[in-house]
Symmetry: C5
Subunit: 337 residues, 5 copies
Amino acid sequence: MAKSLRLVSAQPEDKPGVVASAVYSEGRRVAEVPIAEVGEWSRRPGHVVWIGLHEPGLALLRQLQAEFGLHDLAIEDALKAHQRPKLEQYGEALFVVARTAQMLDGRIAFGETHLFVGHGYVVSVRHGASTTYTPVRERCEADPGTLSGGEDYILYAILDFIVDNYMPVIEAIQSEVEEIEDCILAVTSSQDQVARLYQLRRDLLRLRNAVVPLVEVCRRLEQPGLPGIDPSMVPLFRDVSDHIRRVQEEIESLREVLAFAFETSLMTGQAQQTEITRKLAAWAAILAVPTAVAGIYGMNFEHMPELNWRYGYALVLTIVATVCGWLYWRFRQNRWL
Amino acid sequence: MAKSLRLVSAQPEDKPGVVASAVYSEGRRVAEVPIAEVGEWSRRPGHVVWIGLHEPGLALLRQLQAEFGLHDLAIEDALKAHQRPKLEQYGEALFVVARTAQMLDGRIAFGETHLFVGHGYVVSVRHGASTTYTPVRERCEADPGTLSGGEDYILYAILDFIVDNYMPVIEAIQSEVEEIEDCILAVTSSQDQVARLYQLRRDLLRLRNAVVPLVEVCRRLEQPGLPGIDPSMVPLFRDVSDHIRRVQEEIESLREVLAFAFETSLMTGQAQQTEITRKLAAWAAILAVPTAVAGIYGMNFEHMPELNWRYGYALVLTIVATVCGWLYWRFRQNRWL
Amino acid sequence: MAKSLRLVSAQPEDKPGVVASAVYSEGRRVAEVPIAEVGEWSRRPGHVVWIGLHEPGLALLRQLQAEFGLHDLAIEDALKAHQRPKLEQYGEALFVVARTAQMLDGRIAFGETHLFVGHGYVVSVRHGASTTYTPVRERCEADPGTLSGGEDYILYAILDFIVDNYMPVIEAIQSEVEEIEDCILAVTSSQDQVARLYQLRRDLLRLRNAVVPLVEVCRRLEQPGLPGIDPSMVPLFRDVSDHIRRVQEEIESLREVLAFAFETSLMTGQAQQTEITRKLAAWAAILAVPTAVAGIYGMNFEHMPELNWRYGYALVLTIVATVCGWLYWRFRQNRWL
Amino acid sequence: MAKSLRLVSAQPEDKPGVVASAVYSEGRRVAEVPIAEVGEWSRRPGHVVWIGLHEPGLALLRQLQAEFGLHDLAIEDALKAHQRPKLEQYGEALFVVARTAQMLDGRIAFGETHLFVGHGYVVSVRHGASTTYTPVRERCEADPGTLSGGEDYILYAILDFIVDNYMPVIEAIQSEVEEIEDCILAVTSSQDQVARLYQLRRDLLRLRNAVVPLVEVCRRLEQPGLPGIDPSMVPLFRDVSDHIRRVQEEIESLREVLAFAFETSLMTGQAQQTEITRKLAAWAAILAVPTAVAGIYGMNFEHMPELNWRYGYALVLTIVATVCGWLYWRFRQNRWL
Amino acid sequence: MAKSLRLVSAQPEDKPGVVASAVYSEGRRVAEVPIAEVGEWSRRPGHVVWIGLHEPGLALLRQLQAEFGLHDLAIEDALKAHQRPKLEQYGEALFVVARTAQMLDGRIAFGETHLFVGHGYVVSVRHGASTTYTPVRERCEADPGTLSGGEDYILYAILDFIVDNYMPVIEAIQSEVEEIEDCILAVTSSQDQVARLYQLRRDLLRLRNAVVPLVEVCRRLEQPGLPGIDPSMVPLFRDVSDHIRRVQEEIESLREVLAFAFETSLMTGQAQQTEITRKLAAWAAILAVPTAVAGIYGMNFEHMPELNWRYGYALVLTIVATVCGWLYWRFRQNRWL
Ligand SMILES: [Mg+2]
Ligand SMILES: [Mg+2]
Ligand SMILES: [Mg+2]
Ligand SMILES: [Mg+2]
Ligand SMILES: [Mg+2]
Ligand SMILES: [Mg+2]
Ligand SMILES: [Mg+2]
Ligand SMILES: [Mg+2]
Ligand SMILES: [Mg+2]
Ligand SMILES: [Mg+2]
Ligand SMILES: [Mg+2]
Ligand SMILES: [Mg+2]
Ligand SMILES: [Mg+2]
Ligand SMILES: [Mg+2]
Ligand SMILES: [Mg+2]
Ligand SMILES: [Mg+2]
Ligand SMILES: [Mg+2]
Ligand SMILES: [Mg+2]
Ligand SMILES: [Mg+2]
Ligand SMILES: [Mg+2]
Ligand SMILES: [Mg+2]
Ligand SMILES: [Mg+2]
Ligand SMILES: [Mg+2]
Ligand SMILES: [Mg+2]
Ligand SMILES: [Mg+2]
Ligand SMILES: [Mg+2]
Ligand SMILES: [Mg+2]
Ligand SMILES: [Mg+2]
Ligand SMILES: [Mg+2]
Ligand SMILES: [Mg+2]
Ligand SMILES: [Mg+2]
């Protein structure tokens, strides 16, 4: 543990990383406060400090650790990122990890958010392609009645925002897959589409890895017994839980759809190739007829009566043309051509 | 929450959306009542209000919320639709979401139904391609003895109707798949059938997503402890539960059947192509014989004794015809042709 | 419920449907009794009525309902059939549904059996391709010591008979699959065999749907707490349970075997096609040699010295034959031919 | 039950079937005893009778049933064999079924062992290709300290022997599969190897059916509460349990390995075919060049200036040879040939 | 048991096998001690003996068994290796088996570590390609505050080290697979890449077999009730548990990725072959045109007016060239060539 922290401390630690730091009382913003005072504010009755960080350095995290008494292992996780979604309880404080997703240039960009929630404070730490939580803060500030719920309401609001943002990603993939499916079934699938389906399957697998453990996190939040979660919040967390389960179901469906769309596109691509080869073979078979017949009349035997007929040549040409035409007509009828 | 409600409120809210609104006492219809009075009626002992809505606006839902004290999150769900089937308990009231299915032009059309069930009232909210519940109401009114069971009996009657309506959809798919299977095994599968099997698999996946969570809903309804569900109703809910499980099993079977019918149709389609190419190659091989032989007697060597034979030409033609005939016969025997 | 009963009542209800109706005391047949008296007999201490029905109409079932106090939902199920195997408890009575299977003309024919078991009576209702339970009755009557066990022993005897009859079906499929596997591995699989494997997979899927829920039924029968099941019967039901689980395992194995036999047969079928095409291509390549050489000596250049050689023709024929022979030998060695 | 016993009693019942029958006290062999006295010996304090049978007839089993009070259903199972591995408790006695496996001529040969374990006795019944348990007896007799553990120690020793004998079977398959895998990846897989992989998959499926239920048997033996199993034996049964779980894991791994080795071998076999056809097509394309060119100069037009050139013939031959050589070189470079 | 020990005792037992043997008190190294004294040191209050062995012989293990009172079955396991990861409790002592993994020359090399942990001692036994635990010892000695935690902290430190070392292996496979995926999608997959994907799947399967049982081991270590594990260690073991679960998830993802990369590479490889054959067939079809036409004008009919035309030859050449050019242009447009 000590080692990994030391490794990372080589990064510039004076980079501030603080996006916002405000105190709320009865659902209203009371003050902007410097990090050095947040511990004191969080201990005032009825006051909640809500801090937003973006890829903070070790020094800043150590300062917050001192202010709020955060656990060493949680600080290590928040510094290193690349954690799986989880909910840890350290004494009276909660540590939540979630992964965020958004569509960027046709690929899913993932971010990671770490939430420290304890008596009188919420700290959110963002890593990677995560969108800012400023809209969540604005929406909460616009409705002091609910925000007065305190730190557990803020936790709910952020998780709800994260979960709501999965849906557009899934819908984007769904609509793209449906377009590709139309092409596959019209047997015009191209190599590009196969590659795109492959990419989508890969991205969806990553999305599933981000979402599945969060289902368990939400399930635990709707059950009684966690410190600092008011029983009145249960229906709200149940609602988030319900939505993340719907996200999971959509992912599972989409996985299946992508699996068979991919396999179908590979096989119909193969079928197209085979069909062309078949058509070429049919044409070659038709052309083999004049070649063989002409070969016969190109033989140099002395006694070949037909060669001396007045209309021998015309007759042969006619016969050959008739046979070829008949073959063409039959091949078309049998759908060989 | 507030935000999403506001977004939707841009819709025309004065659209009535009320399909029926009646009060029942001892299983008999007592009166048609306006929405403004339903709360009062529902509180009269022995009276049950049964309201049917179709895609109601926010204003109407807010009015019902005021009358019956419905929960905010349930109202939000009923307005937005696109929920997964579930059973939520808010205090003494139940909120049930189910998805309906029917066959329209060879595709499954899905609808969504939301049921608010509390002391003295049942509100059903329909979205999308759901059929009306008028037949359920008529059948209930025709049998006052059972309808006198009250709000839990109405809940049972609607769920039973929804579950019974899945079966014809499944049977339609089953019979279509069986027809296609006959074609596949007779090796005459066409591209259209492959595409159709693909569509059916997609639809079935959607149906499964609609049905699977409802199994859990029914399972919970047959267990004691839910508010307002009389113990005497348990066998009825157990019957619905039993039927939805049978629906689920049929879906799972059908999924497997479709999976291997689809794969088989793709592979037999491929096999048909390969077979044609093989036949063409066999014909080309037969035709290569006269071509080669004729080529030899078309050479311009000065000393080719056969060329001067009286019946050389006839002999060569005979030999070539014999060889070709023999090849044709062998190829047929070996099933190469 | 009422509606479906009414629909069916259009059938001829005066069709008797009673196969047997006898009273037993201390394991011995005491009397044949008409349906109208069975209730009374069943209430005599130490007497058990055992009734066998085949596709009875509503009137007969209603009569039995009146005699034994059977539950409405059970009567509905027994009339409609197409139930999934299950065990329902209605008060002090049990209602068991099982599906029977037998091999008819190479396909599995399914039947359905419904058993009403209560204090002093057992009623079996057969639907579809189910064999009669006369042999069970005869075997029980031949061993009064065990039959004196009463209604739970009769239930055991019928279930044991049903479960024992699954095994010959499975063995028939197993031996047929093993024959087909020998062909597949000898690379002589035909289209007929592919189609047969497809049919067997379909039938096996249906068999699994019939067997799997029965495992749960048997598991519940070996546990204490069901009304009318004597603790001394537990080892007997455990034995049935053990056998049905073995049937289930055999089905699962067979499913896997069929899945890979089917896929293998499709792929080896494809491989056979490709092999033939390859052989034809090899022959075409051999024949292309004389064609090309002969073509060259068929050119009409004035100055082609070889044409005037005395043994030019013989030399060319020899060279061509040698090259073709050598190609044939190499192709055979490389297993191209 | 009675019926099946009667069916089997047609077998020669005077066939002894007794492999060994000895009494042990304090871990040492005290006497060889006839079957008629085993019951008496088993009831002497501190004495254990250990009997080994091989495919016994009904008479012998009935005699043992009388001596030790064995249960009817267990006797029926031991006579009929073809049971799934299981542990049954009949009063104070245990009945264990296990399946044995050994490699014979490249196929797995299965046997079945039934163990009756009760106060003062152990009876092992072997069926089919099971090896004798003489080595187990010898090893136990060589270590009286452990054998003094009594009937539960003997049960442990036999199960340990059975489980240890699965491992060489698995290792034999593993090493054979690894050899075949080397061939597959070197793209030289033959039809024989495909067939062999098929056989191995089939055998492994049978092995899994033999092993999986035994895991549950061992798990129950390491838990307290079974009659006659001393708590001091728990670590020993836990060790067997641990080994059978390792066997199960190896089987699951091997199943997966075989599944993809098999699929890969089928597909690389197909790829080999396609490659040969491609090469033949490339040669045919090269030979088509001289054929076409020669055809052109074989035309009989009066005015074809090249035909009169002095070196026309040589020029054409040179051009054709150059083009063919260039094609050959390009095809090789593109890996078309 | 006795037998297997005897078998192995043929190995050179005087080979020392001791890598390190030191006593710690309050987190600081107090002394290096010979094996003969370790039991005594371990019983001194506040002292912990930490011994590191590498492939020890039976004599050494027997000596340690005598010093610490280790269990026979654990000694047998430590001698034989090839155990599955597990946690066994023998009285007050724990026995832990874990498998280590590292990347060597592009393949995963597996090792096995056995840990005996009891009051006052930790013994680690390494087998196979396992790296030394010297870095763990050094890191622990550098931080006496944590090492003063005693034997459970040492157990944690070693498990943490093992789990941390899985991640680079997984990352190495991930990056290699991603490179190969780029090739597959650019349709330039070679046979070597198919073989490499096959190898990676095989190795990953082995890695999964090593990791999956360790998840259960870690899960048990984070739960109360194991002897010698201080409750204050729970967060540390929970952290290891969390990391091993992340490793497991990555393995599952990678398995799926490899499965579809492998299947895709086989199918695109097949598609490349088919494409080349198609192109060759297209060229053959183009060349068949001059061959057929030339054949016709090579016929020896007396009356073929075109042969006498002044520009007949030129005309035919022009027509043939035009047709071939047009075919080439069309084939290119249709992507047949
Ligand atoms: Mg972590
Ligand atoms: Mg992960
Ligand atoms: Mg949401
Ligand atoms: Mg996952
Ligand atoms: Mg799904
Ligand atoms: Mg919702
Ligand atoms: Mg859903
Ligand atoms: Mg129904
Ligand atoms: Mg689903
Ligand atoms: Mg079913
Ligand atoms: Mg299924
Ligand atoms: Mg496939
Ligand atoms: Mg039913
Ligand atoms: Mg069913
Ligand atoms: Mg039986
Ligand atoms: Mg199953
Ligand atoms: Mg399989
Ligand atoms: Mg497949
Ligand atoms: Mg049995
Ligand atoms: Mg079995
Ligand atoms: Mg062993
Ligand atoms: Mg199995
Ligand atoms: Mg396993
Ligand atoms: Mg595995
Ligand atoms: Mg072991
Ligand atoms: Mg293992
Ligand atoms: Mg770690
Ligand atoms: Mg495993
Ligand atoms: Mg995964
Ligand atoms: Mg796949
Ligand atoms: Mg596959």
